[in-house]
């Protein structure tokens, strides 16, 4: 396990409410991650300082396509949970057919793909945090996450952000 350096949040001493937006992303479904990145890019494009906090299933959205896990269960998780491009919809996935269908339909309608949306969010300066506890439980290391989302924090850091934000969404 790599040594985790303590992230220093640059938020101390700021006014109670700033022009900030916080999104807590728990879900790992294609549709919900889609909504999360659409809202995050929209908030950032509207001039808000936007943070996404990824926890549990949501971590798939910031994972690299790598093998993870140490225990049997950890390695099993790694088999089932992939990266952002392999997420299926929360309904009608039908063993992957739904994912395939939605990808086709989105392409036909010229909607950005999830990797593209995530890239846009990064380019717009959306800050991406990962939940420490979820990383531990799921046996992911910080290095298993994309380079732009390797800041690992806990609930207190999230609360600080949430109290400073104009809105906090839970997806």
């Amino acid at each position: 396990m790599a040594v985790l350096t303590a992230p220093v949040l640059e938020t101390a001493g700021e006014p109670t409410t700033a022009n900030k937006a916080t999104l807590v992303v728990l879900s790992g479904d294609m549709d919900k991650i889609f909504a999360a990145f659409t809202i995050a890019t929209g908030a950032a494009a509207s001039g808000m300082e936007t943070t996404m906090f990824f926890t549990f299933w949501g971590l798939q959205a910031i994972r690299k396509q790598v093998r993870t896990g140490r225990s049997l269960f950890g390695r099993m998780l790694s088999f089932f949970l992939k990266d952002i491009d392999t997420l299926g919809p929360s309904k009608l996935n039908m063993g992957g057919m739904g994912r395939w269908m939605f990808k086709k339909m989105m392409k036909a309608h010229n909607v950005a793909t999830l990797p593209e949306l995530r890239r846009m969010a990064i380019d717009l300066g959306v800050r991406m945090l990962a939940c420490q506890t979820s990383l531990e439980v799921m046996e992911f290391s910080r290095e298993d996450l994309i380079d732009e989302a390797q800041e690992v924090v806990g609930v207190a850091a999230l609360m600080e952000l949430a109290t400073q934000s104009k809105f906090t969404m839970f997806i």
């Binding site: 659409t38 890019t41 929209g42 950032a44 494009a45 509207s46 001039g47 309608h109 010229n110 909607v111 950005a112 949306l117 846009m120 380019d123 717009l124």
Partner: protein, 79 residues
């Protein structure tokens, strides 16, 4: 609206939410203060989104018109 000299023309045709707004946010930084962007889009959603984006960011929507499927709008950078 009579032609204003645009500092930048942006082709947003065929793009759906949230891309038009994202592209505007990126483009507005590339024009000088008081600079003007003229954009063309086809997503009917921009009729609501671009005015809302201008209100939240403080940039000025100089004009917006829709002809058939083609939507043209002009935004001036304020800050």
């Amino acid at each position: 609206m009579e032609a204003v000299r645009a500092d930048l023309t942006l082709d947003l045709k065929g793009l759906l939410c949230p891309i038009p707004v994202v592209k505007m946010a990126q483009a507005i930084k590339t024009v000088p203060l008081a600079g003007i962007i003229e954009a063309t889009a086809t997503d009917p959603g921009v009729m609501a989104d671009i005015p809302a984006w201008c209100r939240t960011t403080g940039h000025k929507l100089l004009s917006m018109e829709r002809r058939e499927k083609m939507i043209t709008f002009v935004v001036q950078r304020v800050k």
